[in-house]
């Protein structure tokens, strides 16, 4: 074969192996992180870990019950606010996508998605914490709810856009009013997309720390009152990761393990939902 052609083939092969090498290398961090978290986290997990409060420095054991309850409550309240509103806004964007207002709303969602989470923390501090005079779990939930909106809106919009117009037209042709067509036909068909978008957004905000720093603030005790400061898993990890004590690091590893596992589980649920319920036309 001609030498020049051979050289080109070599170049091609070297390039391909380079690409594969770099791709494999970029998956390495995830595997390393998961490996360390599982390795360190699994040893610190036992029954006591789930039912006890963190212990002061020097005492062995202790658990993260306050953060578990706190995370649950804060994320639950956030979803309660964000999911219905997000679904409606997504519906609006998919139905009125030729509106001028809809264009601005779409842009608005994009911008909201890009806002650094710490800035949202500041905003909710100024809107809720400062007027009420104290940190509260509710303010944390509001911050997280704003963060949840863009992904829910987008996944709702995209799912609903996939539904063929013919179905809507058939319903309208039978004389069904427009709002009934939307509520009874379009929304149920797109339910899987809304659901998977919502679960995905829950998994995204479950690990958020920055917006909770000045809102939910953290609390070393069990608290179920949403108007009082509350701890959450990411806040606990942040507080204990920076300390120099081995026992606290152990708690943080355990909390990271629980957090990562629940996020992975939620991700898995989304994947299954998307696969099983994908609209088929």
């Amino acid at each position: 074969m001609d030498k020049a052609i051979k050289l080109r083939f070599y170049k091609d092969r070297i390039f391909k192996s380079g690409i594969i090498l770099l791709t494999v290398l970029s998956t390495l961090p995830l595997l390393l992180i998961l490996f360390y978290i599982v390795k360190q986290g699994i040893t610190s997990i036992n029954w006591d870990f789930f039912i006890n409060l963190p212990k002061p420095v020097g005492e062995k054991g202790g658990g993260i019950i306050n953060a578990l309850i706190g995370s649950g409550i804060i994320v639950f309240c956030a979803s309660l606010m964000a999911i219905p509103f997000g679904a409606l806004a997504g519906l609006y964007l998919s139905e009125y996508n030729r509106d001028k207002l809809a264009y601005w709303v779409g842009l608005c969602v994009d911008v909201l998605q890009g806002i650094p989470s710490i800035v949202l923390g500041i905003i909710i501090y100024l809107w809720v914490v400062k007027p009420t005079g104290h940190f509260s779990a509710l303010s944390g939930s509001i911050a997280l709810a704003i963060m949840m909106l863009p992904p829910i809106i987008k996944s709702t919009e995209e799912t609903l856009k996939l539904i063929p117009v013919t179905i809507k037209e058939a319903s309208l042709a039978l004389g069904v009013p427009y709002y009934k067509t939307i509520l009874r036909i379009i929304l149920p068909m797109g339910l899987n997309g809304i659901l998977s978008g919502s679960i995905l957004s829950i998994s995204r905000v479950a690990g958020e720390t920055a917006p909770l720093l000045f809102t939910a603030f953290g609390n070393p005790f069990i608290n179920t009152n949403i108007l009082k400061p509350m701890s959450s898993l990411p806040l606990l990890i942040y507080n204990y990761a920076g300390s120099a004590y081995e026992d606290w690091h152990k708690l943080a590893w355990g909390a990271s393990f629980v957090l990562i596992m629940s996020i992975l589980f939620l991700n898995l649920v989304t994947k299954i939902l998307e696969r099983r319920w994908r609209i088929q036309f």
Binding site: G18, P29, L32, A89, L91, V111, S203, A241
Partner: protein, 309 residues
């Protein structure tokens, strides 16, 4: 006569029903539109709140906020230059570190293996990188990465802090890979097959097709994906706060500790006493908000134009 009467009442009843339906229709459409308006109001009031609350700082410092080097809350001196430099340095370094990896992964997933098992595995792994919480990245960085960097620093004979610009840039680079990959992969897979086939039929190798057809064709899209990743990196808070070392001086080199705008806010916001101090931190938040918003909008605009093309 009687028949007519009957018909009229029926018509009347149906009119009422229709009227009711039309009313519902109106309410429904209005309330849908309302959600959109609320979203716009939220965004605008975020901007207005940030601007209004940072007025004391703007009045007190003026433009000096941007180039002042001293940061001393006790004497009410606030210069944000060290943090601006810290933010730019960490983000740019993170982009430089992550770009080769992100680009090759995008080519791998968009061109070499767009479908199939291999592609699915890698796609999922990269997506999972985005779902790991930033605080966990930070914690992992403290325990695993800091000792490694410290070792490197002792070998290079610089002060072995361990934490610093480089450490946080490495973590940031890992964190932004999924954002640039997901977009650039889509852009690469959208290159028209006819273009590629034309090149292949002329005897081009795959490398030549990628270099001379795919990359030039997708240039603006790839640029936008990097831009959006930059927007992410600028605002990233927790991992950077845990790894950057929190020093209030301008970093001398990439090994020295520093601070970013986001990390200063995270560290000092709850401790900020005095209205000017708080307002300065909020002004920093405003700056962050404006910059990331501009980057986001321009990135999305480029993508939109690319897709319409």
């Amino acid at each position: 006569m009687l028949f007519d009467q009957k018909n009229k009442t029926i018509n009347n009843r149906e009119d009422k029903k229709l009227h009711k339906v039309l009313l519902f229709e109106k309410i429904f459409q209005k309330s849908l539109g309302l959600t959109g308006i609320i979203l716009i109001i939220i965004l605008i009031s975020i901007f207005i709140t940030l601007t209004i609350t940072s007025i004391p700082s703007i009045k007190h410092l003026g433009i000096k906020f941007l180039y002042g080097k001293a940061w001393n809350p006790v004497t009410d001196e606030y210069g944000a230059l060290p943090f601006l430099i810290g933010t730019l340095l960490t983000s740019l370094l993170a982009l430089i570190i992550s770009s080769p990896f992100a680009l090759s992964t995008a080519i791998f997933l968009g061109e070499y293996y767009p479908k199939g098992l291999v592609s699915n595995i890698f796609k999922n792994i990269i997506e999972l990188l985005a779902s790991i919480p930033s605080v966990v990245y930070g914690f992992w960085g403290i325990v695993i990465l800091v000792p490694i960097v410290r070792n490197l620093e002792t070998q290079l004979h610089v002060l072995p802090y361990g934490v610093g610009i480089l450490t946080s840039s490495i973590i940031l680079a890992i964190m932004i890979i999924p954002y640039s990959v997901s977009l650039s992969r889509q852009v690469i897979s959208m290159v028209p097959p006819s273009l590629k086939e034309g090149a292949y039929s002329l005897g081009a190798t795959r490398f030549e097709v990628i270099k001379k057809i795919i990359i030039p064709h997708t240039r603006s899209g790839l640029f936008a994906s990097i831009l959006l990743a930059l927007g992410r990196a600028l605002g990233e808070t927790m991992a950077v706060t845990m790894l950057i070392g929190n020093s209030h001086y301008i970093p001398k080199n990439i090994f020295s500790p520093g601070n970013t705008m986001a990390s200063v806010i995270a560290n000092e916001f709850t401790e900020a006493t005095g209205s000017v101090y708080l307002s300065v931190l909020i002004e920093m938040g405003l700056l962050l908000f404006v910059v990331t918003t501009l980057i986001n909008i321009s990135g999305r605009q480029i993508i939109k134009r690319y897709i319409l093309h």
